[in-house]
Symmetry: C2
Subunit: 773 residues, 2 copies
């Protein structure tokens, strides 16, 4: 086991790299030519524009004001300044609540860390089990182990301290969880209540419309809802199968990019016309004039698009058995979404419509029977993915070894024998296979979720996150604790008794503390610091900027603000919750490392949310029940492992006290589920009615029908993408401006306003609207 010195070395190394990342970030972000990489959110909001006007040429690209380099960490307080209400206003509820997860980490673990250091560390330290054992075995006990539960002799009465602490930690965690659940539920209701009028408030997604020989889908939907919701039905929109059309539009866009590239090249160097080869990847084939080639190609694709568009709108086969149905009031939409329409519960399935941006169009037409079957298949596939993923990787690794390569590709033998290449293959390739798999894992899980038929991006994200969490739990946590592959574990678990499993894992837990401390420093400290540097978007932006950008609008498109990746980010946080809760009673030394992670991540992500990320959709924190549930899982795991550990320590008389803990925790979970989960699934009629009444008083002659007419059109039908973007922006924009009726100026909180360029005054929509109330 590692000594304090080893840990210290690793800490120095990781703190060093984190420091390098932060320093690089501090320098890069001050350069005006990186402005769009590090502050895209403000550009998208129209509160910041390119530093093109005024100043010397150099100043446009490099920041020469040396004073600004001195305070290179001052983005941190800036990131913390913006109040939460304004953050919701600025970046949406999803992001604001996501940051609360990190904050909750601090809320849970700061008191736990203090308590365990004041109580458990002295209790553990003042024993001499390890020293004695070490003397006997003639080795030195590490200091970290002296602070852990391993230092307590078998059957000691001191274990009562750990049991009492386990109770204290559980109660504190549950208390924080309860408070947070209540707060987030309130925030969600407040958000929904103050939100501007949006199509999804009035709409319901109907799926599995039964086929009818006499009526078209749209007629059928209209008739059904006119009959069953006669006083409330307003209008409906059928869903077109426009997947092919969408891919054509995408193709056209790419060709346009190439055209732009060649035109730019030509304009810079007008002497020789750019040529290109028509073959695969431009590597062979006939040489043609690139500009003419792409122009004619674009023309062809445009014709194809027109034909496909015609076909989709006219052919009844391209109408899917699904529709967005809109009602006259929010109350009626809430009613329709929450009730069963037809005798056959698999037909006329109604769900609260996702907001238009959030819809995942390709999945809207999957029939019910296929849905359950898909879920079964994916369940089995995920089981194999989790427990057997090492098998193909081992095969790849064996192939990627030197002997394997020589066997398969014998003609490469002379090359492989070269010393440098040999070293590369032996040292890097096997690891690369695993690394590549892990990089592609979120994509694989996302494809699996798509296959399962979820209809909104937010639910796809949630499902992927759940799967990623389980994968992490098995393959990162459990496999690191009991060194061995998931498959080996599965085998041994099937053949072990249920009471033996927690003992096996529990016994291994204290011994792996140093490993996890290193893991936290690499993944949590340096990784998070690397996140803020945005190396990949930085490079891509500058490449695009150089090769493609002609107009300001192009530059806008070249920005890649990205967004919070819930499907990978949240499971990562959950791993820290798990580690913290498991080690709180066992090896309190680990807790400060986790605290640093939560604090650093909170600041970094708050900065990113404010300045960089641009959320693609808004689910109003619908993911919170998942977050809550996983922390409860971590709590139960920690309790069971504690039970197993103490059983191996001959402290069996304590078992009854520990058995009560998971039972109480699960009961607490079921209570929370009943009390708060409906807030994230259903829209209470009371709220809907209140909002309807307010709106009726405010806006008496509103033409709702025309407002909702085309709200749920497939994106490709909305003319060009630009129009769509504008519309969405319009919607979001007004939403935000109505949220907080305050005169506070938004740019006051823009962290480190760019030296060059000025921000426009805050939204006028908002203030006008508020004064109209």
């Amino acid at each position: 086991m590692a000594t304090l010195g080893d840990i210290g070395l690793a800490a120095v190394f990781n703190i060093g790299s984190a420091f390098v990342f932060l320093l690089a970030f501090a320098i890069l972000r001050l350069q005006p030519f990186n402005d769009r990489v590090y502050f895209p959110k403000w550009y998208l909001k129209g509160l910041r524009s390119s530093p093109t006007h005024g100043g010397a040429f150099v100043k446009k690209f490099v920041n020469l004001d040396f004073r600004s380099y001195i305070k290179f960490l001052n983005w941190m307080p800036d990131a913390l300044k913006m109040p939460e209400e304004e953050l919701i206003d600025h970046a949406g509820l999803d992001s604001a609540v996501y940051l609360r997860i990190y904050l909750m980490g601090l809320k849970i673990f700061v008191p736990i860390a203090i308590l365990s250091w004041t109580v458990l560390v002295p209790v553990n330290w003042t024993n001499s089990t390890l020293v004695t054992a070490a003397k006997l075995a003639n080795i030195t006990a590490s200091d970290i182990d002296k602070l852990s539960i391993s230092n307590i002799p078998l059957g000691s009465q001191r274990f009562w301290a750990h049991i009492v602490m386990a109770y204290a930690f559980t109660f504190w965690t549950c208390y924080v969880l309860l408070k947070e659940y209540a707060t987030v539920a309130d925030m969600r209701f407040h958000f929904l209540q103050t939100e501007r009028r949006r199509p999804d408030q009035y709409s319901v997604l109907v799926r599995n419309v039964p086929p009818d020989p006499d009526e078209s889908v749209s007629e059928l939907v209209e008739h059904f809802f006119l009959v069953n919701h006669p006083d409330n039905y307003l209008t409906s929109q059928v869903v077109y199968n426009a997947n092919k059309l969408a891919s054509l539009v995408e193709k056209k866009k790419q060709m346009q990019n190439w055209l732009d590239y060649y035109q730019l090249k030509f304009s810079r160097n007008s002497t020789n016309k750019p040529l290109m080869k028509t073959g695969f990847l431009g590597l062979w084939g006939k040489k043609v004039d690139a500009i003419d080639h792409y122009k004619s190609e674009i023309e062809n694709v445009s014709k194809e698009i027109a034909a496909e568009r015609e076909k989709v709108t006219c052919d009844p086969k391209s109408i899917m058995p699904a529709a967005f149905v809109s009602f006259k009031t929010r109350w009626a939409a809430a009613v329709c979404a929450q009730t069963q329409q037809s005798r056959n519960p698999t037909l006329w399935l109604t769900d609260w419509a996702p907001e238009p941006r959030d819809v995942y169009w390709p999945n809207l037409a999957i029939p019910y029977v296929s849905l359950t079957l898909r879920r079964l298949i994916m369940g089995v596939a995920f089981f194999f993915l989790t427990f057997f993923f090492m098998i193909p990787i081992t095969i790849v690794q064996s192939l990627a070894s030197i002997e394997g390569l020589e066997k398969v590709l014998s003609f490469l033998k002379p090359l492989i024998e070269v010393k440098v290449i040999k070293a590369f293959i032996a040292g890097v390739l096997p690891g690369l296979a695993l690394k590549l798999f892990l990089i592609f894992l979120p994509t694989i899980l996302m494809i699996m979720s798509k296959f399962e038929g979820f209809i909104s991006l937010s639910s796809l994200m949630r499902r992927s996150a759940a799967r990623y969490y389980v994968f992490n739990l098995v393959n990162t946590f459990l496999c690191s604790v009991i060194v061995g592959s998931a498959l080996q574990q599965l085998k041994s678990f099937i053949n072990q008794s249920p009471s033996q499993i927690p003992k096996t894992i529990g016994m291994a837990i204290p011994m792996r503390a140093t490993f996890f401390i290193t893991y936290i420093m690499v993944d949590g400290w340096a990784g998070i610091a690397g996140e803020i540097l945005r190396l990949k978007p930085l490079i891509i932006y500058h490449l695009k900027n150089f090769f493609l950008v002609k107009t300001e609008k192009d530059r806008e498109e070249a920005m890649d603000p990205g967004s919070l990746e819930f499907n990978t980010g949240e499971p990562q946080i959950q791993l820290y919750f798990l580690l913290g809760l498991v080690y709180a009673t066992v090896t309190p030394v680990l807790l400060p490392f986790i605290l640093v992670f939560f604090a650093l991540a909170y600041v970094v992500y708050r900065h990113q949310v404010i300045n960089v990320y641009n959320q693609e959709y808004e689910s109003a924190a619908a993911y919170w029940p998942d977050v809550h549930g996983r922390i409860i899982t971590a709590l139960v795991i920690s309790q069971v492992l504690m039970m197993g550990l103490l059983a191996t320590k001959h402290a069996a008389q304590s078992t009854p006290f520990l058995i009560a803990l998971p039972i109480l925790t699960i009961y607490f979970h079921s209570f929370c589920k009943g009390r708060y989960e409906p807030a994230f699934i259903r829209y209470p009629l009371e709220e809907a009615m209140m909002k309807d009444t307010l709106e009726r008083a405010r806006d008496q002659n509103l033409n709702l029908k025309s407002y909702l007419q085309n709200a749920y059109l497939h994106p490709v039908f909305k003319g060009e993408d630009d129009d769509e973007d504008e519309e969405i922006d319009g919607i979001k924009w007004e939403t935000e401006s109505e949220l907080v009726p305050t005169k506070r100026f938004s740019q006051r909180n823009t962290p480190v306003p760019s030296k060059i360029g000025s921000s426009p005054p805050p939204s006028q929509h908002g203030t006008n609207r508020i004064s109209n109330l």
Copy 2:
């Protein structure tokens, strides 16, 4: 292990006792003075009246027509004659669907029995493993074991026959289950659709009305629903805490019974006035004139009742935070029941109101937090009840032994030493303790369900049935298979590996076949035949008839038709499903015994439902998902045990094929759950709307408000009990008559119309109503 001869002996004995019961029933039911015991249903429906008029005196009590004794089994075809539609009309959907469970048993097991006898019996029989083994051990192998899977040598290829059969049985069972689920769901919808107007169709039960300092509960409810369902709200009724009042009324009724008894006694023998003692149980105290005493007591109680009634209606504290809210349309009620009303999902809880007869009044005021807590407590209590119930019984048994009694009650020592008493104590008492516990078990489970806070009798029944099933599974099935108490099993299961448990049980399964065959004959054959005799109601009726009955109305009340006891009956059937499915592949010999049970039980209960039972409530077969789920459980258990058994038979290569079975079965279950379960929980808006439209067309100037005004009054407020009964009868009566628009005469199907007395013509309400349509 028992030989065929032993089984034959047991069969003869049990068939004999079943025969005796049936013969006794055949004789007793033909006696006119037993008519009200064996045909109470017809009296309650008013289609049969007491045989008082005409004929000789003797004929009134004893049937002297000897021809009727010859065909003593002809009630059987009579019981089967009534078509199902008319049965629903006659006894309600609950009873009709309950009978379908037995029928489903036949549907599932007849083909399975045929298949396993034609395939598995020859496969098993043509081996000589047991013969060889027996020769070696010098014992004789029993014939039954030769027919079972035990006769196949280890690692034989013949096990594939069993695997294929396991698949066939699973598919067949699932097919029947699917068909039945669809049929029952359709029957339920048809029943609800054709049902007469009933208060519960328009009403919703609201619980957890939040306290309000300014408004009373009834005002608050009215305001809330006027705001949130403005177009649909009609009226509401608050719930009074009338539990004390109800017990007073009950007390008065008992005293009235005693008064009647003494008055009858006096009228028969008017020479000496009946006297009684006022002390405990009339054993000591002052002697008083009994009639005067009870008259004055009744007067006192009446006063108390009046005072309490006054208090309940005026004191705001006796109003519970719950109300029955009625709407103008069924559509609106369905909407309200299926939606969430308030931001806080634990307030304003709305549920589809149970029908007035079905409401369990004392539980209406339990708050949400308390509900989850109660559920937790009962969960833990049930766990202990299931696994530790042997502990108190063992203590009681040790006390009830001779040494125990002598120690505790030493003064009884001389008495105990008497030989007869000693034998009695040694032989009977220990068994008696267990028997008493098992008799009281359903009551204990019912009390537990009541404590959990269910609000309708039907849901109480369902919950008790679920618990009783689990108890049976653990303590009857598992404990019989692996001889040992539940606690011992629990211990060994915790310490065994998950793959070992099915092996242990699976291995024991074939060896216990003969035990279960005997069990089926005792519990299933003789027990069911005993049910039809109705010994207890027979005795009680005659006692009451002799001591209490003065008028025809009294006689009506003395009848105890009873009802189908879902909470004990259904778990019993499930045990047979479990045995059948488990032994179908292992010991096919068991199947015919199960077939006889299902057939006999179907006929007997069909007879009872037609002639005897009077259901207390109608839940429209809401219990079917439970029945379905438990058969699926039995199927999965049988598959896992088969897997375990084959693993011990060195047929490990077959495991992958068997693992797929439970996965497919569970998938099938989840499919059925999604497809059919909602039919038993929610009321689809399409159906509600259809019924509303029909009614509007039919009955244009209906005063719904006055109809619903007092529908959900606590029974004690409806004047005397009689009024309530009449009202309920009225409702049910018309319901039934509207169901089947046919001119068929009901009494055509009255089995064996009593020789004396005539039945009135069929309901005139019904025919009038139908002709009005």
